[in-house]
Every structure is written in C-alpha cells, then in structure tokens.
Symmetry: C2
Subunit: 231 residues, 2 copies
Amino acid sequence: MRSTQIRRHAMARQERAVRTRRTILEAAAAVFDERGYTSATIGEILERAGVTKGALYFHFGSKEELALGVFAEQLAISLPPQSSKLQELVDSGLVLALRLRTEPLVRASVGLALDQGALGLDRTPAFGMWIDQTTRTLTEAKAGGELLPHVDPTETAELLVASFSGTQLLSQLRCQRQDLEHRVTVLFHHMLPGVAVPAVLARLDITPDRAGRLLAEGRLLPVEGDVAEVG
Amino acid sequence: MRSTQIRRHAMARQERAVRTRRTILEAAAAVFDERGYTSATIGEILERAGVTKGALYFHFGSKEELALGVFAEQLAISLPPQSSKLQELVDSGLVLALRLRTEPLVRASVGLALDQGALGLDRTPAFGMWIDQTTRTLTEAKAGGELLPHVDPTETAELLVASFSGTQLLSQLRCQRQDLEHRVTVLFHHMLPGVAVPAVLARLDITPDRAGRLLAEGRLLPVEGDVAEVG
C-alpha cells in the first residue's frame, strides 16, 4: 500500500511539472511573439506565466533554453504509423500545418525560427531538429524501396523543410495561414513525383483534411517524454 | 547641332538621376539591413547616401516607397530569351541565387521581405511582384505545351516563390548563402518532374554554374526602365 501511495505522489508531482513547464513555454512563446526575442525578458515571461523564478529556472536555465523549448514544440507530437514511410512524411507535414493554424505555441515556434532580428539566438537548432527527423523518415523510406534510386535523403529533407518554411510564411502573409493545409498538399504533389517510386506515389493520401481526420480519430498524441528531455 | 546638344544634356541628366536613385536605394538597403525597417529613419538614409533631402524626395516619397524600390531590385534584370520558357524560369531562379550571394542590394531586398518585425510595412508586394512574373512565364510555358496538363500556373508560381524563399533562408543560416545556387538546382530537380512534359524536362540545363556562365557571357542586363517606373 505504502509504495503505491509513493508512486501516486510521484506521478502527481510529475504531472504538475509537465503542466508548469507547458505554462512557462506558452508564456515565453507569447512574449517572444509580441515583443520579439531580443526585447523579451525573463521577468515578463515570469509575470505572464504566474510562476516563481525557482520554478522557471528548474525547467529552463536561460532565455535561449526557453527558445529551444519553444522550437521543440513543433515536433512534439506522435503520429500513427503507416505501412508507407512517405505517407508518414506527408502526415507530419499536414499535421504541422494544422497545428500552425490552431496552436499559438507552434506558431510562435516558427515565428522565432524565422525572426531575423533575434540577436544572439542561434536559430539553426529549430531547422536542425526538423531536418533530422525528416531525414530519418526518408532514410527509412529509401531502405523500404519507396524512393527513386537517385534520391539523397538529407538533400531532399533540407529542401522539404525549407520549402515548408517559405510556404507557411507566404500563407501567413496572404491569409493568416487559413490555406496552409491546401498549400502543403500542393507542395507534396509537386515534390513527390521526383522522389517516390510510382507504385507508392499512387497510393499516398495527400488531402488537406487528412490531418483533421487523424486528429478527430484521436490518433495524434503529444510526445511528453521527448518534451521533458529537451528542457 | 543645338537639338543634339539638348538631347545630350537630357541624357546626361537622366544618367545622373539613375545613378542618384541607385545610390539612395543602396543606402536605404544598408540601413534597413543594419537597423531593421522599423528603426531606420530617412535621416540616416540621407546621411549614408550623401544626397540632399530634395534629391531623395524627388525619387521616393516615403520610407515605404524606399522599401518598395528595394523590393523591386530583386527582379530588375533582363535574361536572355530561350527556346523553352521553363529554361527561362530556371535561369531566373539561378540568377537570383547568384545575385543574392553577390549583391548587397538584392540581399537586403529579401531580408526586408522576410523581416517579421517590419511594423507598418506591407511585405506582400515583394512576393506579389515575383509571383506575378513567375506566373507569366509559366502561363507562356503552358501555352507552348511545356507543362503537364494538370498544372495550374498560379499555384505552381506561388509554391516556387515560397520554396525559393525558404531555401535562401536555410542557406543563409547554414553558410551565408555560399551553397544557394546548388540548393536552387536541387529545388528545380525536385519540382520540375511534377510540372514539365518529359521531352522538355530532359533538355533543361539545371546546373549551379549556369548563372555565372550567362553573366560571364554578358547576357544579363539591368532593366533600367522598369526600375525607374517603380520609384
């Protein structure tokens, strides 16, 4: 009985820590978004989050670590496995488009990565994490015979990430990202014929409402483990 | 004789005006680049350019008009016509990559278009001008039977411009755009199989040194007429 109680206490404490961490990240994202990274101060983030200085520094050692935590939120979701790795790649793009449209924290993450005025902030990790994940998926797709023989997974991953970034920026300027999921399907429809073997290409589901359907089916889960590691 | 003299005077005056305009744009680009659009003042631009207030306001009515003039520099170059419109599209991308690497004014133009902190600046014209030009080229390519039947020139143009923007941003973060021409060939090699009919695709020259060759052959000319109109 006693050990169950201890475990229950530990779990409650961990859940609280996850919630606090999330509150701090959301506050940091909002302050970065409104004031820009350079002008934002830890004091403002503390005030917005309504947590103690100790709680903040328990999770994040500096303003830069807060930015890294915000960056990591782009990828902090687990997608349902598919028989085709290229379908998983398409799903990750469409889900990111949906989250950019609906989650302020994910939006701030991308805004921060594109903020040219962010003095002293190394913005390469934001792209690096995302490129690494895409390269892994494409390498698996290649091993499974889904890619045309000349395709270099790293080169294609860098192009996809770069093109997605530019696409979300144009969608933001044009209509506050309301058409982002459609634009991401256009991106995949243009890119994949130069990448996928025809038999795989023909079976991919590249439709703007796919991410919404996965979400409605409850098949998108936050990656709490990964999130906790980053802080 | 007299009319020849008048004409010569008029031409000298016009050449001087073109040079002054260019000096002002270069100064504006440098100040926007260093201070950001929001903090930059007309006074700083005047000081940097070493021209009178009257000269500046003759060419540009406001800080926003200066920004529009800087934007327009991206496109202010005339490329040699090719038998394939898709080759002209490839050339325009490769030449822009070369100019981004070598011309500070073009670099500032793109920096300004991507500057999320540029308060009160409508950044859509920077993309709009570029998308319009790309759409025109693709519409001509379609009329000439170079495109696959399902291709929508506007949709493809928006995707190409967005993908190019993201690509130059990643290249800038990674290596100050030293590999931009290579990345742009990767972009075209991925996109064009989904766009071009195979017989045209097979004959395109998509090589990183193509823009340098056109430049060495003296086949890239500034479009002074267009530039003068924008101001």
